[in-house]
């Protein structure tokens, strides 16, 4: 700190009456992240902890789960008890183990899908904002057409045409979801693309790829990261919904959406077991939203007015 003050003092002599030396505090990325975290509101901390737990569960599913994912270990619809903590499903598979493996499948697929959607939508969005003109026009109208068709129905139709497989599922949802990413990234990138530093880069002879990835992308990252959280929730819900409808993940793979459907009849007997996977979905969605809210608040520079 003192050295930085000294060098500013030298500068003042050179420039004449320059501004007072700015006080600089350089933190490493980790330090500032920790600093932010300590001051995060309760909801954000809760969200972070929940997400962390989900991720750990997904990563270490084989270690945590008492039984294998697809093996029939008992009778159908056994109640909660010592042997099967949350009972068994309609075929006699352990409910708790399937819940744990379900985290792995559902979250994993949702994450991959969201990544794909962002790669596609983000790249095209920035491209449209830089090139404008007919590229922007064509991409924009094409996205309008895609968005005009209800997403779930469109996905259902496409899946029934090309057949249900995990790859198809991921690709179709990614493409459909990338439309919204496209809109967002184009909207924020347009404001950056008109800045002088982008023009300066063009005058230096920089290529399109450089301008997109180095000049524009870093400046629109905060809203994109926030959107990533929200999109992840939606993708996750879509996957679950499609699985519930029977065109998503196929048995015997454990998936929260299909688990709700398969055991739905239990509800009529007053058993809340089918609500557990639904609850798992809800909890994660809420947690992600808490974190995204906090992040958006931080990056958009809003102040907490008393």
């Amino acid at each position: 700190m003192t050295t930085s003050l000294n060098r500013d003092a030298n500068l003042v002599e050179d420039v004449g009456f320059a501004e007072p030396p700015p006080k600089l505090a350089h933190y490493t990325w980790l330090q500032s992240a920790w600093r932010e975290l300590r001051r995060a509101p309760l909801t954000a901390r809760f969200g972070l902890i929940v997400i962390l737990l989900y991720i750990l569960t997904a990563l270490f599913a084989p270690l945590i789960a008492p039984y294998p994912e697809t093996e029939i270990v008992g009778g159908a619809y056994e109640g909660w008890g010592k042997q099967f903590i949350l009972g068994t499903d309609q075929l006699g598979r352990d409910m708790l183990s399937r819940l744990i493996y379900g985290a792995r499948n559902t979250i994993g697929i949702a994450f991959v899908t969201t990544m794909l959607a962002f790669l596609l939508g983000g790249a095209l969005g920035i491209l449209a904002s830089v090139l404008r003109g007919w590229v922007d026009e064509v991409l924009g109208r094409f996205v309008d057409v895609l968005m005009a068709i209800p997403q779930l129905i469109f996905a259902l139709v496409l899946l029934s045409i090309v057949g249900t497989s995990v790859v198809n599922l991921v690709l179709i949802i990614a493409v459909l979801d990338s439309t919204r990413v496209f809109r967002l990234s184009r909207a924020v990138a347009v404001n950056v693309a008109v800045m002088d530093f982008v023009e300066a880069a063009r005058l230096q002879g920089e290529k399109l790829g450089w301008i997109m990835s180095r000049e524009i992308l870093p400046n629109i990252l905060p809203p994109l990261v926030a959107e990533f959280g929200l999109r992840f929730c939606f993708v996750f819900l879509t996957v679950s919904a499609l699985s519930f409808l029977g065109v998503g993940m196929q048995p015997p793979t454990a998936d929260w959406g299909s688990m709700v459907r398969e055991n739905a009849t239990l509800i009529t007997y007053g058993d809340i077991t089918p609500l557990l996977p639904a609850g798992a979905i809800a909890l994660l969605t809420v947690a992600v939203n808490f974190v995204v809210d906090w992040f958006l608040h931080k990056t958009s520079g809003l102040r907490n007015e008393p």
Partner: protein, 559 residues
Amino acid sequence: MSLSKQAVDRRSSTPGALLEILGLRIEGQSDEAWHEIVKGVDLTLRRGEVLGLIGESGAGKSTIGLAAMGYARPGCRITAGSIRFDSVNLADVSEAERRKICGARIAYVAQSAAASFNPAHRIIDQYVEAPLQHGVMGKAEAKRTAVDLFRRLRLPDAEHIGFRYPHQVSGGQLQRAMTAMAMACRPDLIIFDEPTTALDVTTQIEVLAAIKDIVHQFNTAAIYITHDLAVVAQMADRVMVLRYGELVEEAPTGVMLTKPQHAYTKSLWAVRSLRKEEEEPGEGALLSVHGVNAGYRAAVKVLQDISIEVPRGRTVAVVGESGSGKSTLARVITGLLPPLKGQIVFDGKPLPPALKGRSKDMLRRLQMIYQSPDTALNPRRRVRDILGRPLQLHSGLTGKARERRIVELLEMIELDQHFIDRLPGELSGGQKQRICIARAVAVEPELIICDEVTSALDQIIAEGILKLLLRLQKELNVSYLYITHDLATVKAIADWIVVMRDGRIVQQGAKGQVLTPPHHPYTDLLLSSVPEMATGWLDNLMAERAARKAQQLLKSADQ
């Protein structure tokens, strides 16, 4: 807190003071810590007096201006001191009470009228809001007084201009409408926060004259905040010079102009005297523009028949008001806007009209520096990358050699080598502009287009930038095409002057020739509109112009 208040109370108020600020301390929050930005300032203002607050940005002048209304910006807090307005301490009373006291009696005129008006409502509707809300007068009466004020402020078509929307009047008119709005409740005190900084010189003096007149007519006290000394010389009875949130010097305007005491004040005064000796045109033209027409759509011609020459190692200044097409000229030369007609020749070879057609070496030889260093530097890239990238791209430098060259460049622009790791957000305005200059000279260009490079900076910082540009020209024999609306910088830097208006060249010639009479009428208007550092200058000028107009009227009557 209570102790300091007692102390303040004992220093009882000056009789007859309308506003008395004692020991004002204000803190601002940045980076989770509170820093003092106003450090114990005293200020007294009598009825009908105009006080000028001057200083560079960051001197705390706007903060003090707002504090005079008992208000602190979000992220700021008043920690000590009293603000006595007509014997009520505004620092003590609640928000609601303050609004009751100040609402009708203190008004504020912001720097950018365009940003302060609501674009969705007509001017008159926004005008009547304050008088209605404070119960000063009814709607019909407010509208009547509005027309009167508009007329006094010399707005054209005073009866109807209020019924326009903010975007339908010019910037200077809007600033006057805002002054009328501030006057609506006949306040005792108006705070003007750099009301003319965003305006052209010719518009500026109209607004200044209008403001000066109306303040005198209503005997309103005013605090006039500006960084322009010549402006304050016209407007204020008394001047306070501020720096880093402290008072440097305070004196009546006449005394302050002729006998500044403090070294800092003297240095402020000295800025305007920077001059460059005019040099001979030198060896041949580096850039010549022949009969260029350009426009954004075929129908709208922004440039018409522009021909200029930039000799090697010399500076050509392009002067004009906003809308004169000078920035478009820069876009044409850089290839961002291909001309509709005409040719641009660079170093004896015709320059391809569009950016795409130009070779990498061509791009290297022609660099550009922008008006606003805030938007010209990518906020997410460090100085190392900002300067290193063009080096890598054009000179193929990498690793140690590149690093060495960056440090060399930093030395060239008088910055310490530690700046290499900083982000643009960690630099001051002047330092950012220096980095922009370094980026331009990094690849050893032959021509640099400077688009209003000092207009976003304070005078002292701007002087530093001009000196740097002059030095670099000597060292690197680079040519400048210097675009500006500010004639003071033209005097400081140019060898050759091109005066533009409405997309055409009005006059061009060597500096000495353009600046010595007889002038072209438009050049004369521009030159005479540059405020001078003498107290009576504005009054004299307005009287002179009025007399000339009367003469012309008489003449036409005779015929």
